[in-house]
Symmetry: D2
Subunit: 364 residues, 4 copies
Amino acid sequence: MGGNSFGTIFRITTYGESHGPALGVTIDGFPAGIEVNKELINQDLQRRKPGQSKIVTQRKEDEDFEILSGVFEGYTTGTPISVIIRNKDHKSKDYDHIATSFRPSHADFTYSEKYGIRDYKGGGRSSARETAARVIAGAFAKMLLSKFGIEVIAYVSRVGHLYMEPDMNPIIENIENNIVRCPDATLALEMIEYIQTIKKEGNTVGGIITCVIKNVPAGLGEPVFDKLHADLGKAMLSINAVKGFEYGSGFKSAEMKGSDHNDVFVKSDSGKVETSTNFSGGVQGGISNGMPVYMNIAFKPVATIIRDQSSINQEGEQVTIKGKGRHDPCVVPRAVPIVEAMAAIVLADHLLRKQSDKISRIQV
Amino acid sequence: MGGNSFGTIFRITTYGESHGPALGVTIDGFPAGIEVNKELINQDLQRRKPGQSKIVTQRKEDEDFEILSGVFEGYTTGTPISVIIRNKDHKSKDYDHIATSFRPSHADFTYSEKYGIRDYKGGGRSSARETAARVIAGAFAKMLLSKFGIEVIAYVSRVGHLYMEPDMNPIIENIENNIVRCPDATLALEMIEYIQTIKKEGNTVGGIITCVIKNVPAGLGEPVFDKLHADLGKAMLSINAVKGFEYGSGFKSAEMKGSDHNDVFVKSDSGKVETSTNFSGGVQGGISNGMPVYMNIAFKPVATIIRDQSSINQEGEQVTIKGKGRHDPCVVPRAVPIVEAMAAIVLADHLLRKQSDKISRIQV
Amino acid sequence: MGGNSFGTIFRITTYGESHGPALGVTIDGFPAGIEVNKELINQDLQRRKPGQSKIVTQRKEDEDFEILSGVFEGYTTGTPISVIIRNKDHKSKDYDHIATSFRPSHADFTYSEKYGIRDYKGGGRSSARETAARVIAGAFAKMLLSKFGIEVIAYVSRVGHLYMEPDMNPIIENIENNIVRCPDATLALEMIEYIQTIKKEGNTVGGIITCVIKNVPAGLGEPVFDKLHADLGKAMLSINAVKGFEYGSGFKSAEMKGSDHNDVFVKSDSGKVETSTNFSGGVQGGISNGMPVYMNIAFKPVATIIRDQSSINQEGEQVTIKGKGRHDPCVVPRAVPIVEAMAAIVLADHLLRKQSDKISRIQV
Amino acid sequence: MGGNSFGTIFRITTYGESHGPALGVTIDGFPAGIEVNKELINQDLQRRKPGQSKIVTQRKEDEDFEILSGVFEGYTTGTPISVIIRNKDHKSKDYDHIATSFRPSHADFTYSEKYGIRDYKGGGRSSARETAARVIAGAFAKMLLSKFGIEVIAYVSRVGHLYMEPDMNPIIENIENNIVRCPDATLALEMIEYIQTIKKEGNTVGGIITCVIKNVPAGLGEPVFDKLHADLGKAMLSINAVKGFEYGSGFKSAEMKGSDHNDVFVKSDSGKVETSTNFSGGVQGGISNGMPVYMNIAFKPVATIIRDQSSINQEGEQVTIKGKGRHDPCVVPRAVPIVEAMAAIVLADHLLRKQSDKISRIQV
């Protein structure tokens, strides 16, 4: 049973292998009447794109997208929005050496076990190429959220041993004006230098992305299973290379006492209910409380390294996997728009789910 | 739009407020022909039960369950299994003091905002009382998994500052023979003592539960969204008080290099494909690879503390919340069976989802 | 994979066998803030109840329902509403004679084939006893619909050869003041007499129920698959003994010409867009157009007859099934509230689904 | 909330407007390892294609499909299969006359009401052009079913007043060797002549398609809501212009007695359990019993007629809709492959759903 759809009302379905003819996404449940911002789609695709800087893979991917349906004269119509990206830079010869071998910590072995057949070119469906479709869907989600002032911002907060304290009010310009997407300019330089060193070694390194969602209205989230943070967690964990998720105080909360951790309710000068601290991460009982939602997402080091590695092949024989190809030394700079996209999709879905939760909201 | 169902083929729907007449669960999609182990249900409910030891809440809950459907002469029939637990120890007078006030870091405010109405008795639907229904469903999932040798074991690996290194091969007896459910006997004693101190202070403390799933067959998990670890993550994050989830190398992977993190494939003496290390946590590309699956789940300190706390009420006026009632100083000892239950439900669901993934499996 | 849930936002899950301890339903997604009308639930259960008149089965069923959750001080809370009915009149001895035989045109054989195990008491899950849960859920749906003036009315329009022309504006009193639930008083008497004759013969007869939904707002229905009439069709076809469904002009449309069938749009005196005829049955392109929605549902004759019938048993041997027990000579009088319930559930679901279909409707 | 997905395990999502850039379908949940039969896809598209004969619309549609994903070296891989058809013959000028008017019995008014925006070119999403995507998905479903000997055959059994008795064992060659797709050669000629007369009048006429599914294994169908015939009914009712659905004895059962209607179980010479009659239509209690499944689907006359018709426009003013364009005088000949496609999709879905219904079937 497939798992290629995500969301309930704002529901996306993606398809496409890294070296097949195309990849794409269909969004069902997008409201009618929203002006489509193609520039935003393009911009987020560019932020995810390989070859965008010296610290990411130099592999080329074409990101020309085409909207196939659901938009009429520049506005959404309420019917499914389908968007396609053609693959051009196939170079499938590059992959013959792994057609029958299992690369360490890749999905080669598990796909073979599960399906008994495997599209080995460029990792097939398991390639992070798939996330381009998510970025497109995320851009549409952002268009919806922006109508209500909701803003999703992600940035790199750790690369290997280099990290910063969480910034709850990050400035987009500070993030996007450096190639590693870290809002701390000094740290960004260190991170870039470190990634270049790693790259020279033919190695890779992990990192953390922090995501902050501002102006979230209170009342989003559907207990007891579809809690807002639970859906955010699943969304993030479904991104390639993610190994951990925490929101608010996260893993640190395990060391804290209740008297330190509780967020006291206060009334702001404008009359809004707020909390004086925000260990809750903007979510209480699985429902947003009106405070900023924030979370950390841990990415493992990319599995492809430019070194010879021992492995086995389909026949169970020991083989040596040659390290070659063009891959990212560190995935987090390019994963920033992917994290934003998945966060935006979850928020958009819960915004739409909220429409029917009390009788006083229902319109005929 | 509600969020009270979980799973796709093995699908549970829960209901019930902490101080209403009853709570329960309906499991749809459970296969026919499995002998029902009532003792297992009872045992897991006892492990979750309040009042079971001196380090948990002394509140009494009745855990007499009744199977209402889906079982005939001791075996499942393939029709929905519904199980009910009656609530007896209501004592709803205890809650009048919070009927119109919002307890810090509880779900009082968010439920009010979302629904415009609130069952304030004992937290209503947001109470962890709800997890008894999950434990029942989890026991049924374990009955299914045990037919295939799959075993789910959870234990407490951290309470506040006290922690142990992950044990990938925990012994159930070592876990269950102490009241904090930590397999390290010495550490368990320290934890118990620490929780008692916390309790005397009227305070609470957080902790971490580690869960290990053994004998998972390769091939479970449905990319690209319903990856095995993504569904596990959502399952865990949906449990009350959980703030973080990581699997395999988790957050530590963000500091690691690819050359250290990659798990090398080897062939075991028995001819099975294995990996020499298991930073992947038994999951690659979202699909199980046959190695043990393991994860850590972070719990915040319980929000109810026996201290006066400042807050506001429904009218936005500042109030003082009196600290009283019978609550857990540390939630992790009782949350162990809940973690196991959610893990078992996810595994059972993916075991059933796997049945149709290749033509050679399909039976008419 | 089970099929015991229905609906998307207004989503019901039912459980229970006819001779098990209980049956029930959980409704997830019901909006908060609606006053619960227990009398309506009771009334619809009474209309479905066996033994209510001389033309229905004299079998006794207890219909005392209990609301277990989702209601606080008389109002819905937005959390799942679970309602239970205990079974009392088991008499399971009655069914020993069919424990291993397959009654003709019953579900005995197919359940055995599918599940390899069978709860043979009273048909188990395949018994129409199950529909009591639907009636309860339907009563809740009616409570929601009534807030918006939407009214669901069903009546018997055919019993065997006796039938009436469709009445698009039926009067409830005319329906409910006779035991066969036909609004044509003269025809009702004939139908009652005919059913009594059939009953004396130990035989059964089929019939048709017509359902009219008034004051449906324009815009309900979700093309291209979840068209309003497609969901109504599935809802009706899921009721025991239903063999056919048509809406608007239905099967007659197959004989008509476009020039006769097209419904001309006109503006009513009040300024509302209407159609001068209503062959469309209130639905165009799968979306309600503001005109009354109407449909016919065909029921086969009940399979249980008081005659000896030839069949086979589990071993494939030829056996004679003795005709005995208390069953309905004609199912349609008691099925009227079931049809209404399923129609109400579909309408309620689509009313809630409509909340997010255009940006101008979305509320934060 | 959108409704553009259908099925549970075999799950399709379609997109595309009649005069947009493209239409398409993504199939999630298709098993890996099936050889793709492109000729079958092409053949079914040709059977649905406009302009194929003198009795269908002469409008041209391009049916060149492209498989974008999910297939590797001719075999399915278990990942989503996405197929696209580009639209070429746009001619959108044809539609300016209806941009602001509501054609009688079309979906113009209801789409406007629902979404507040409308792609008026060629009916946009409400056009039957959308069904090309279903035919593609249906061809994939047939590829799966054929592995298990299951065969889906549909034919025209009524056009206006001309009809035939149901043929439970239709010969495909007899159906496909005439342009109206009626297996009775004499009746086919009459139907063709009649449709030509209707066409000359600028009028349209309705009809009925009968569908027979052979070699259905016992045990398909998921009570109590996802009964096999209920899902078939929804599938058929979701097709443009369908007004009614019946299976087995259908509406006739309403006039029958139980003693005549019951299907007696017998053991065939080969030892298989069969029924001596098949009023049940191969389904009992919502589950297939191994006998042929058959059903009738009623289609209304096409709403577009070459006559002036009175209507209103968006401003509520009375207007005259000019009858022009190239449309079908009778939709049933071209709808035969659409009916087959939807039937095949339902059967494929239930075949996959069946895999987990008893413990003895589960494979790890």
